[in-house]
Symmetry: C3
Subunit: 365 residues, 3 copies
């Protein structure tokens, strides 16, 4: 099975870093940790670091497994963004614009650099926080949020929630009453905080997002020190998934590790639940085939999506795709070798996972 | 290692579907979801669907990996029940009769169709619900339940609880007082509900069942949308397991995925805990060896049981056994190949798992 | 890759059994269960039991896979402690002396028998319980505990907590106030109990331990019937880890199974978190490579440690090292074979894991 020519839809990604990166700067971007790297270790000594040296080094003219210093030196002499974005084999990027920094390419720049189609995914929490900067009274927020989401999603293909980071999935699943929302908005306005972290507001956002009809992406599983991992097990969403099911909105669980089996189960029993193993795949590097295979246990094959969740060095946009292709080739190839799958089914399954499911879900064509 | 001639004891199974099945009907029975299948997907595009096409198609005279339509067409021209039940290589079926439908074979019909010995496993919740239809006052229920269980278990080999579906495992583990039970019965009678879902009644049933002395099976892990997966992690049963341990009753954890490692741990530390990976094994299809291997980490080999948990198409009775045989051959064969197990130990371990442990536990001979 | 000559640092271990062992006695020491072994099973029928027969039998002059009776007979005629401790290939043992029994070697005896350097790890709960036997008033305990820990850690390399066994990780993460500690001490003194199980005291101990500056080991994951497995998932420590991070103390998560992926995540995002898969590795036997590989997904390679957690028969000191060497050779070798790691990186990674990380963390040289 050859997936080199399968043009992937990367359904959840961020911008590429525009600025040059020295070794310390690069090391901070190949870890999910937001903490300083201790002086006695290097983030290159990790599965992702080894994957950079193995798969990215040759594109910079180096031998595989080049040393970190050689790698950064070669990188500094070349246009890494064009090289890695050009080599990823992606046709469409769905860009989460809620975690933008001035140092990152925006949607237009990413399109130009990569030569790909780009589409926007709107982050709910960022929109509420924006509305709050515009409205002087809490009472004006609910209507303003609906208007803002209408405007922002006019050209977007999906919504995204990071309730995982702000609270976790152990929230009251019911839609809050308008009165409860108003009280929570009042409390938030009274604190003067920019960041929305109140569970009533977060679940109101989720419900408001679900009512827009667009596919709704939820960060689940691994992230940085801001979250408590056991609280972002997607199984905790079960009752909320039951409650929003009648709306017809499709829910997409992102990353999911180490709860990707729970995510696969939810995708199995709930028609409106989909999942990816984005971020996870490149971070586990040499273990990607083993981890992706676990995601292939209960999940119906029509529910699997590909993403890199790259943010920062364009190596990550490339590695997301490269490690995924290698791992899927390995896993589905082993199913064929052991006689369980036919070669045709394997090729079809890989195409569903890497491209067709996303085209259908996000109505890309 | 050749397990073709190992006659399995399928210690947890249901009846076979008596009626013919069209494609839509068949698709609904090869998923654990109780929801309509979305029009943009097929449940054949799953590990279980691929296993049907690979392993069942040849028994209907088709090539492996036949298309779903060809498969259903061939199936409709033959006696699928006799073919698949006859080929499963099972000597004994232990039938959970609490989830019977008119469309399914009962214990006697299953015995006749399969040529196997059949034994009954009595479902606790169904018996309490039956008693409630017979007793006009709540106060009469406790004595009536004990009498009913005495009658029903006279010829049965085990009991079964679906507290996982009705509430989850996060219940108060202590045996409820008679007064608490009476209050709960009064509340239940007052609602007029047929279905028992009150946690006091459910744990009273568990305790009452445990006092019968027969092995007590508990659904754990994957099921349909009725349950919350993280609440049916068998580790949540720890305190209850400690409390019932002095009764001497053997507890059997069914399915367990994705918490089969937790189940293996419980079987390791508690003498009265056993487990299977029934349902799981066939649902994960090409991944069965990988998943069963995880169940073989901590569980003492005398604690492992085989089941299909088949319900509906007789393909499932056959696939449970077939996928298990292939997976066990693969896993134990790899242990032998890497030098960790002797071939004799592998053969003995497989026989314990597939047959001998169940014969001993349920006193079948 | 040949790890035979890699001298391991076993950073968490206990003493070896001094007395001879008959079959019943030996069977009780190759299980984590504290219950009598049921008459219908043998603990030799387990991954650890098979590993004893495979890897230890040849050192007693037997064929691999010798029967348990032959094994115990050969063992009784030889000096098992010298044989297995001598063959483990360990340079340094870090001995947890809080779980000592008269029947076990103490630190000095272990050094003499093994020819290794030994270092002490001081168990917090045991020290508080000792202080309580010395102080007649609860009010004297806080100062006495600090003095006792100063004395006991003068020559020690680390501290250890078994809060996992005494309560679980779902405790209030904040440091308790002196008044709360005094109240809790008063309550404890009033009960007359020797064993400390009060969550206020246990977390006060954790905080007091963390303030000592030495690496702090925490039992996590599998153990005996005393713990509730889901309550010792190290992800539950997240908030506590955030709170103690400013102290600069390094935290080491021990064993971790089946939550080693959660532990790897914590080691990834928190600079002060390290982990091992001790105890787990030998207990899962033929599955050790598969389990260790899961620990290698997110954990930075500078955060991995080796331990046996052996307690009792010296076979366990030997098997911890032997199964680890085989498994690491297999896992890292497969990464090299699939092209993801270079051979040099694999050798370097194994040395970090088995030796160098511990030397740095515990300042052994």
């Amino acid at each position: 099975m050859d997936l080199q020519n399968l043009r992937l839809v990367d359904h959840h990604v961020h911008g590429a870093m525009k600025e040059p990166l020295d070794r310390a700067g690069f090391e901070k971007l190949i870890t999910e940790s937001d903490r300083p790297v201790p002086p006695w270790m290097s983030t290159f000594d990790s599965q992702l670091g080894f994957a950079v040296r193995k798969y990215c080094a040759p594109l910079l003219g180096l031998e595989p497994h080049a040393s970190p210093d050689d790698y950064l030196a070669a990188r500094s002499r070349q246009d890494a963004n064009r090289i890695f974005l050009g080599a990823a084999g992606v046709s469409d990027y769905l860009v989460d614009t809620g975690h933008l920094a001035d140092s990152l390419t925006d949607v237009g720049e990413l399109a130009k650099l990569s030569g790909c189609r780009t589409h926007e995914v709107v982050r709910l929490e960022a929109e509420l926080e924006y509305v709050a900067t515009q409205e002087s009274t809490a009472a004006a927020v609910p209507d303003a949020l609906v208007r803002r989401l209408e405007e922002r999603t006019a050209g977007a293909v999906g919504l995204k929630s990071i309730v995982a980071y702000r609270y976790g999935f152990d929230f009251d699943p019911a839609e809050p009453s308008p009165a409860d929302v108003l009280s929570a908005l009042d409390r938030w306005y009274a604190t003067g905080a920019k960041r929305v972290a109140d569970p009533v507001l977060l679940r109101w956002l989720l419900w408001t997002g679900a009512r827009r009809g667009l596919p709704l992406q939820l960060h689940a599983g691994l992230g940085d020190t801001d979250l408590q991992l056991h609280k972002v097990n997607p199984a905790l969403l079960t009752e909320w998934l039951r409650l929003v099911e009648p709306l017809g909105t499709q829910v997409v669980l992102l990353h999911c590790y180490p709860y990707h089996r729970e995510a696969g189960y939810l995708a199995h029993v709930f028609p409106h639940v989909h999942l990816d193993l984005g971020l996870t795949t490149m971070y586990v590097g040499a273990r990607a085939a083993a981890v992706l295979a676990e995601g292939l246990e209960l999940a119906p094959f029509a529910k699997l999506l590909y993403s890199s969740d790259a943010w920062g060095p364009a190596e990550l946009h490339y590695l997301g795709a490269t490690v995924w292709r290698r791992a899927v080739t390995s896993v589905l190839g082993s199913f064929v070798d052991q006689g369980d799958w036919s070669p045709d089914d394997a090729a079809r399954g890989a195409t569903m996972w890497g491209r067709d499911n996303a085209v259908r879900l996000y109505r890309l064509s």
